[in-house]
């Protein structure tokens, strides 16, 4: 992996922030974009912008082809079987909500159980809380062992015919913890439950293969994987999606409308009402190209290397505590930490003055952060373009900030 060359592909990395070189360590919130992706948007708008589907003119044919080509790229990227299994959404949050609104409202009933884990992002908590409230079903949490791992044995003893859906994050956006998703899916397959993977923090960073995982649904956001904002993906197994009622109603998702009634279009269009986010879907396809070209194994290896480097740095620091630290095999390039005196907001504002961008707050995972007895934490999260030199800058500046507020 040629880090220098990769960094050249990201125009924003040349930005100065408060007079300093930008050190962008907020990748779990959103990633930066390579020129290839930005150019694809410009190319679309300058050369073939048009509404898709059913247009007979050249621009519309080209836009439709590129839009559908991008779907194939995404399909290939996660090794799904069919293009029809790739539904474009706005973001992972919408993808998860679609499952709750359509599959959930049809299949979850009173006293049924839905399982999630204590590691979830709000977007993988609140839709299920609402669904359970509406259906008088139960939202249950897979318990943890004393060492903080998912307790698979206890989980096995809790599931049964009432278990309807299990939705888990592949990697925690706060702790960087990798969850044993394959084992959980395996166990789930002994019940009638469908399995949902929140892959927001995995698809951008490691090889993900939906056939190997054998999950029923998988959700992720384009903006966290070098793609534009406004585009996300809902993957679902064909037969399950095909059985599901539609979500939004209107143009493009119908095959026939009379004044009284309507018939639904085929997959994937059944779930794509109205004019899609054409430009950004195409941009996401180019992001997949870019990542594929580097190789997801290489992406992942780079990130755990940088992640380890951050962990090792924190080991030697007093007053700082790394949240949920795990063995190397169980975590990726996301490190959350707290200080015994200085508040994360002050740390974040302080680092920003040196051009170092980290995230501070609850990271949309209030229950998890609170389980560490705090309300907010600071988080550094890496991606393909981050270097060890940047980590050195981050740590040195962090110590300056600590000195200032201590």
């Amino acid at each position: 992996m040629d880090l220098e060359r990769i960094r050249k592909d990201f125009p924003i990395l040349k930005t100065k922030v408060n007079g300093n070189d930008l050190v962008y360590l907020d990748n779990a919130a959103t990633s930066q974009k390579p020129k290839l992706v930005i150019d694809s948007l410009v190319d679309y708008y300058e050369n073939y912008n048009s509404n898709v589907h059913r247009g007979v003119h050249t621009l519309s044919v080209k836009a439709t082809n590129e839009y559908e080509k991008s779907r194939s790229k995404v399909r290939e990227f996660i090794n799904a079987d069919k293009d029809e299994e790739i539904i474009y959404t706005r973001n992972a949050s919408e993808s998860l909500n679609i499952i709750a609104y359509t599959w959930g409202s049809r299949n979850v009933n009173k006293d049924d159980d839905i399982f999630i884990t204590p590691f979830e992002h709000h977007s993988n908590i609140v839709p299920w809380q609402e669904l359970c409230k509406n259906k008088k079903a139960n939202l249950k949490y897979i318990p943890l062992t004393e060492s903080g791992d998912v307790d698979l044995d206890k989980f096995k003893s809790m599931i049964g015919t009432k278990t309807k859906l299990i939705s888990i994050t592949h990697m925690s956006n706060v702790l960087g913890t990798l969850l044993p998703v394959k084992e959980i899916i395996n166990i789930a397959n002994s019940t009638p439950a469908v399995t949902v993977i929140d892959a927001c923090q995995s698809v951008p960073h490691m090889p993900v293969d939906v056939k190997d995982l054998d999950c029923d649904f998988l959700c992720f956001s384009g903006h966290k994987m070098l793609g534009p904002t406004g585009i996300g993906v809902l993957y679902g197994k064909f037969d399950i999606l095909n059985e599901m009622p539609p979500f939004l109603f209107g143009g493009d998702m119908i095959s026939e409308v009379t004044y009284e009634d309507a018939k639904w279009n085929d997959l994937p269009y059944k779930f794509e009402a109205g004019t899609p986010n054409i430009a950004d879907a195409i941009g996401l396809g180019f992001a997949c190209d870019y990542l594929k070209n580097i190789g997801m194994e290489n992406v992942w290896n780079h990130e755990i290397e940088i992640g380890e480097y951050i962990f090792s740095k924190f080991k030697s620091l007093d007053n700082f505590e790394v949240l949920g630290e795990k063995s190397k095999e169980k975590r990726g390039g996301v490190v959350s930490f707290s200080h015994n005196k200085v508040h994360p907001h002050d740390i974040g504002s302080g680092l920003d003055q040196f051009g170092v961008a980290i995230r501070t707050g609850h990271h949309c995972a209030m229950p998890l952060v609170r389980s560490y007895g705090i309300v907010a934490a600071s988080r550094a999260s890496v991606y393909i373009y981050n270097t060890k030199e940047e980590i050195d800058i981050f740590i040195n500046r962090l110590l300056e900030v600590e000195e200032y507020f201590k």
Partner: protein, 147 residues
């Protein structure tokens, strides 16, 4: 930290001083009003105790809490700004502080009324931090509005 500018504006020396040495942080005894404000997004907390005299003057005030330098120093500065002031003056100061952070025009008189709390003006360049700066003022409003 030599390169700092907007940052220095936000974290002025007086802010850091009030953060490290908060004023009026002794809990009151006797017959006081009390409220607690908190921001669930970042965990900032302010506990405010007030004794309003019969002639409607802030006779005693206590501010304590946990959180970032802005929320905590702002609470301490607030206590200095409103101590000894009448209810009407305090209500006016509260409005003026909010106006200042919204970058609205203020008359010299209104600016003067704010007193030491003028130090939090630099926060207005950092919209996400305005909530921190206003936490104690929100608590104050809650107690004062009853009068």
């Amino acid at each position: 930290m030599s390169e700092l500018s907007d940052f220095d504006d936000m974290y002025q020396e007086v802010i850091i001083d009030h953060y490290k040495n908060p004023r009026n942080s002794k809990k009151l005894s006797g017959n006081y009003d009390e409220t607690k404000a908190h921001n669930p997004f970042c965990g900032d907390e302010i506990e405010l105790q007030l004794i309003i005299s019969e002639d409607r003057i802030v006779e005693k005030i206590s501010v304590t809490g946990r959180g970032c330098a802005i929320s905590q120093s702002s609470g301490s500065l607030m206590s200095d700004s409103v101590y000894g002031k009448s209810i009407e003056e305090v209500k006016n100061i509260n409005l003026n502080v909010r106006a200042m952070l919204k970058d609205e025009e203020l008359s010299d008189e209104d600016l003067d009324s704010i007193g030491d709390s003028y130090a939090i003006e630099g926060v207005k360049k950092f919209p996400v931090r305005i909530k921190c700066a206003l936490l104690s003022w929100a608590a104050l409003k809650e107690l004062i509005d009853k009068y």
